[in-house]
Symmetry: C2
Subunit: 262 residues, 2 copies
C-alpha cells in the first residue's frame, strides 16, 4: 500500500515537556521553493492538538515570521486554558535558532447549538467538467502534486493576462481523494495561488504574514468548492478571504489572511 503522504508529512513525535519533533518535507513546496504555509499550519495544528489531547480544532491564528525550509523542526507547545466548551493552546515552530511561525488555536467539542447559513457555495461546473491545471502547464512537483485542483477556467495571470478581478473559484481535494480532516481543511485554505495575482504588475508575488482559519465542520467525502477573493490592497498589503464548501453545500471552513506584496 502506498504511504499516506499527508499523514506522514504532518506527523510530529513527542519529546516531552510539550516539545515535538517535526520533519518538514519538500513534498509541499510552493513555486517559491519553500514549504507551503498551509502545510506548516496543518502540521502545527495537528501537533498541538495531539500534545494537548484536545477536541477538534475550531479556530487557529498563525503568524509566519521567517521562511521554513525542508528538514527537521521543533514544535514548542503550551496549553493556555482547558475550558469546558473551549480549549486553547499555543505552538511555535523552530528550525535551529530561527522561529518560523507562531500559532494560537482553540479546540472544543462541537455543540448542538443553532445553525444558519446565509451564504452560498460557489457556482462551479462538476469537477469532471473542469480543467486540471496539470494539463495546462502547472508543474506536478511539490504542493501541486499533493493537492488536486479543478478549475472552471485557467486564471488570467497563468497565461500572462491578469484579469483585473482578484477572485477565483475552484475545486480542491487532497491528492487522490484522501480523507480531509480538520488540519487538512486548514491546509486547503492556503494551498492555491493568491487571487491578488490577477491584479498584474506589482502584484506578482505575495507572502502570508498572518492567517486565521475557522474550522466549522468536517466535509462529506469528495471535492471541496473553494472561493478565494481579495477586496482590499492597501500600501502593498492585502487581505485574502477563503471559503471551503463541501459537495453537500455546507460551509466547512473559512479563513482570512494578511499578505504582503513582494
Amino acid at each position: 500500500m502506498a504511504p499516506d503522504i499527508y499523514d506522514v508529512d504532518t506527523t510530529s513525535v513527542p519529546r516531552g515537556d510539550g516539545v515535538r519533533d517535526v520533519e518538514l518535507t519538500d513534498r509541499w513546496h510552493t513555486p517559491l521553493g519553500t514549504p507551503n504555509g498551509g502545510y506548516i499550519l496543518a502540521t502545527m495544528l495537528r501537533g498541538l492538538r495531539d500534545e494537548m489531547g484536545a477536541d477538534d480544532p475550531m479556530v487557529a491564528a498563525v503568524t509566519y515570521v521567517s521562511p521554513p525550509v525542508a528538514g527537521p523542526a521543533e514544535l514548542r507547545t503550551a496549553t493556555v486554558r482547558m475550558g469546558r466548551r473551549v480549549q486553547t493552546g499555543s505552538a511555535s515552530l523552530w528550525q535551529g535558532e530561527r522561529q518560523v511561525a507562531t500559532m494560537t488555536a482553540s479546540f472544543g467539542p462541537r455543540g448542538d447549538g443553532p445553525s444558519s447559513e446565509l451564504g452560498a457555495p460557489p457556482a462551479l461546473p462538476a469537477p469532471d467538467r473542469c480543467a486540471d491545471p496539470l494539463d495546462h502547464g502547472m508543474p506536478a512537483d511539490g504542493l501541486f502534486g499533493r493537492v488536486d485542483y479543478r478549475l472552471a477556467s485557467m486564471p488570467g495571470w497563468a497565461a500572462g493576462a491578469p484579469s483585473g478581478d482578484p477572485t477565483i473559484d475552484l475545486w480542491q481535494r487532497l491528492q487522490g481523494g484522501r480523507e480531509i480532516d480538520f488540519p487538512a481543511l486548514a491546509l486547503l485554505c492556503d494551498s492555491f495561488a493568491p487571487p491578488v495575482l490577477e491584479l498584474g504588475e506589482g502584484h506578482q508575488q505575495s507572502m502570508t504574514v498572518q492567517l486565521t482559519v475557522h474550522l466549522h465542520r468536517l466535509p462529506r467525502p469528495g471535492w471541496i468548492a473553494t472561493r478565494l477573493s481579495t477586496r482590499h490592497v492597501v500600501n502593498g498589503f492585502h487581505e485574502e478571504d477563503c471559503e471551503l464548501w463541501d459537495e453537500d453545500g455546507h460551509l466547512v471552513a473559512q479563513s482570512r489572511q494578511l499578505g504582503i506584496l513582494l
Copy 2:
C-alpha cells in the same frame, strides 16, 4: 481640561522584563458587566507596541480565554521577531493567577506599495440625520458612554422584534470625537452589539472566542462608517465580520471574529 479617558484607560506602565501594569476600568463595560473585548484588545495592543518600540500595528489576533474584571492586570509581552518590514510580538493579559487573553500582533512601517479598493463603504445617511441610541433607551454607562453611535434605524432586536437579517451598518466614533489611533480602530471593530442578535431565539447572547483585526490606515478625523455582518452560524458558533471606513470612503480596518452563543 477633562481627562482623556481613552488615553488614561488604555495606558500601561512598564515594570521591566517585558511586564507592564494595567488598570482595567469599569468605564468600558458591556451590558454583561465586564470590560468590552475591544477595550481589552486596544490596551494590549498599545502596551505591546510601547514595550517593543515597534512601528504601527497592522494585524492583531486575540483569543479571549476568561472574562476580565475591572481592576489591576498584568500584561506580559515578548518580542517574536523584529524584521525589516514586519515586527511581531506576543502579549498575554493576566489578573492574578488567571489568564484573560492572549494576543499575537505584527507591526511595521507603512510602505508605498500599490493600493486597490474593490469594496465600497456602507451607504448611510449623514450622522446628524441618524438616530442616537442613547435617545432610544440604550443606557449611557460603560461602553455606550465611551463610544458615540449613530444608526439609520434602531436594530429589530432592541425592540424585541429581531429582523432575521444579521447585518447592521452604523456610524461610530470615540466619545465626543476624540482622535482615533490604531488601537482605537481595533476597539471599534468589537464595540457594538453583535448582529447575530437579529436571528432571535437562541441567539440572544454571544461571547467572542477569537478576533483578528487588520489595521490598514489611520482614518481622517470624523465618524467611522461601520459594517457588521454574520453570514454563518454553525452548531452554536458564528463568525462576525466588521469593516471600518472613514468619511473619505477609505477602508481603515476590518476584522473577523469567532463567537460562541451562550
